[in-house]
């Protein structure tokens, strides 16, 4: 098999990431992250202001697993699914061990098979670990363009 370019590997990763969430295979989502990682959902407004709080804020893969466990067994929300459209990664900086990149996304939400609703747009600000066989996220900050979120955010972005 031909050796994929870094850009292709990043695109492959994001395709898997989107498919994992959009098909409802949420249990596999934390595996895309390194065991020590940072995942945060925030807004461009908070990002600009340097305000650190997030709607979701995790500092370990275990915390992401807890998030999914809570969604499955504790939290109450209507049946829903997402469709991610993930754009092309812009590689900002990289070396043999890690790469920083930004990738735009658009997510529509479908609640109870009803209307397709534009739920969120923004950019993933990522740091990937390149040292293993497959890419892993050391950091993904989900910077949503809008500060306004409809109803609730259950499934991760």
């Amino acid at each position: 098999m031909e050796k994929l370019s870094l850009r292709d590997r990043l695109m492959d990763f994001n395709a898997s990431y989107a498919r994992c969430i959009d098909t409802g295979n949420l249990e596999s989502w934390p595996e895309l992250f390194a065991s020590e990682c940072h995942y945060r959902v925030t807004s461009a407004e908070n990002d600009r202001a340097g305000q650190p709080a997030g709607l979701m804020y995790a500092t370990s893969r275990a915390m992401l697993e807890d998030r999914i466990s809570a969604l499955r067994h504790a939290n109450v929300y209507e049946r829903q699914s997402y469709r991610h459209m993930v754009g092309l990664p812009h590689i900002a900086r990289g070396d043999a061990k890690e790469v920083e990149c930004e990738t735009p996304f658009l997510v529509v939400r479908i609640v109870q098979d009803d209307e397709t609703f534009l739920f969120a747009t923004g950019v993933y600000k990522d740091v990937f670990d390149l040292s293993g066989e497959s890419l892993q996220l050391k950091r993904r900050v989900v910077v949503c363009d809008s500060s306004r979120f409809d109803t609730l955010l259950a499934v991760p972005l």
């Binding site: 650190p52 997030g54 804020y57 500092t59 915390m63 504790a74 939290n75 109450v76 500060s147 609730l152």
Partner: protein
């Protein structure tokens, strides 16, 4: 004058007509009688506009409002509406260093205190046009709000008759606000949650101590037995404001400090319990305090997670919930990290609060097509008094007590 035909029970708060959540006339009356009536409305934090020339825009009910700090260091609030043609005076959410505000439409200029300072071409151009000589700028400023601050919170009122902010809140509510906001805070994040329901459905939810352990299953599912055994609900005399709280025994506090919450060995468990690791910062053992000030302010302490929620109506079935997450200026980096992790409990994606974003919508959808049906509010009897049990709707009834007075229904 009330043109609505909605039928209320003659007195008391044990029944509420469901039509009040979806009636346009009721909604319009609320704007006049509640938000523009004898109430204090939360506008912003004092430290969000610390210097002269700092400003923010917000809303009182649906009315757009500018809050600004003038050169005299006083805070002023006025309707964000040019007295010429009604356009917004200030378009930005916030800013610094303003000397004045200028309407973009015809360049009428307003001071930071809301006074009309300049009318473009007031004297005409080349001897033609201009405003009549009788036009007096002093008579054409947008309505100004009374402004009061308490513990760093800025409130505004359209009423000249409403009590001072301290009297409006009452001693018990003041004490409970001071407990959380008595030391300098800073904003660590802010988000808006767009709720698909009437504003009252969310505000009742805040005051509803009955639903907490029934709707929100996070603590139960993960067998996180709250040490907090005691608690209660305080309802202000008018019914308007409330505090619900739970606390641990001082004897148990070591356990609380070590773990915050206890998890037993059966069922689901958190793989990363650092999510809930906390530290003791209040000396009264209270681990949860939810406080509301009528008609749209909520102050929340859940363990070390501090936040303000501003409830703003955006139509009969739309409400904006503006979350402002807080830390103390004195936080160590470790303490700040605790707050950021615990913030997973609250907000749009909160483990113990995400349901509140949706449940009002379930009511809003459920009441479509109703006629004279009523909600039942009898948990804990019919009183609006403070109570040591939280299996009561006393604070919700309190809300309706004040609501009926202000609305004259």
């Amino acid at each position: 004058m009330q043109t609505s035909t909605i039928q209320w029970i003659p007195q008391g708060e044990t029944r509420v007509p469901l039509a009040v959540y979806r009636d346009e006339q009721v909604y319009a009356n609320e704007q006049r009688n509640i938000y523009r009536g004898h109430t204090w409305n939360y506008l912003c934090l004092e430290n969000e506009i610390p210097d002269a020339g700092d400003y923010r825009t917000t809303f009182v009910g649906e009315t757009p409002v500018v809050v600004a700090r003038d050169e005299d260091n006083e805070i002023y609030a006025f309707e964000n509406r040019c007295t010429h043609r009604g356009a917004l005076i200030c378009l930005e959410k916030s800013g610094k260093g303003a000397k004045d505000f200028q309407c973009v439409y015809h360049a009428w200029t307003y001071g930071l205190n809301g006074d009309l300072k300049g009318v473009a071409f007031e004297s005409g151009v080349n001897g033609g046009g201009g405003m009549p000589k009788t036009f007096c700028k002093d008579h054409h400023h947008p309505p100004k709000l009374r402004v009061a601050t308490f513990c760093g919170l800025v409130f505004g009122s359209f009423s000249d008759e409403v009590d001072s902010i301290e009297d409006y809140l009452g001693e018990e509510i003041c004490e409970r606000i001071e407990r959380v906001l008595g030391r300098p805070v800073e904003v660590i994040g802010s988000f808006t949650q767009a709720l698909p329901n009437n504003w009252k459905l969310y505000y009742e939810n805040v005051k509803d101590t009955y639903h907490a352990s029934l709707l929100h299953m996070f603590f139960t599912t993960f067998r996180l037995n709250r040490l907090s055994q005691q608690g209660g609900v305080i309802v202000s005399e008018s019914g308007a404001h409330h505090v619900s709280y739970s606390k641990v025994n001082e004897d148990d506090f070591e356990g609380y400090r070590d773990q915050g919450l206890r998890s037993d060995q059966t069922g689901y468990q958190l793989k990363d319990p650092t999510l809930l690791e906390g530290f003791k910062e209040f000396n009264d053992g209270i681990t949860l305090q939810i406080l509301s000030v009528f008609p749209g302010f909520v102050l929340q302490q859940i363990q070390n997670c501090l936040a303000i929620r501003q409830v703003l109506p955006r139509g009969i079935d739309k409400t904006d919930l503006n979350w402002t997450y807080l830390g103390y200026k004195s936080d160590t980096p470790e303490q700040r990290q605790v707050r950021l992790k615990q913030a997973n409990l609250i907000g749009v994606a909160g483990f113990v609060s995400m349901e509140d974003g949706a449940v009002g919508g379930f009511v809003q959808r459920g009441i479509a097509g109703t006629d004279s049906e009523q909600a039942v509010l009898e948990m804990g009897g019919d009183s609006t008094a403070s109570n040591s049990s939280r299996a009561t709707e006393a604070a919700v009834r309190g809300f309706w007590k004040q609501y009926r007075v202000l609305m004259g229904v």
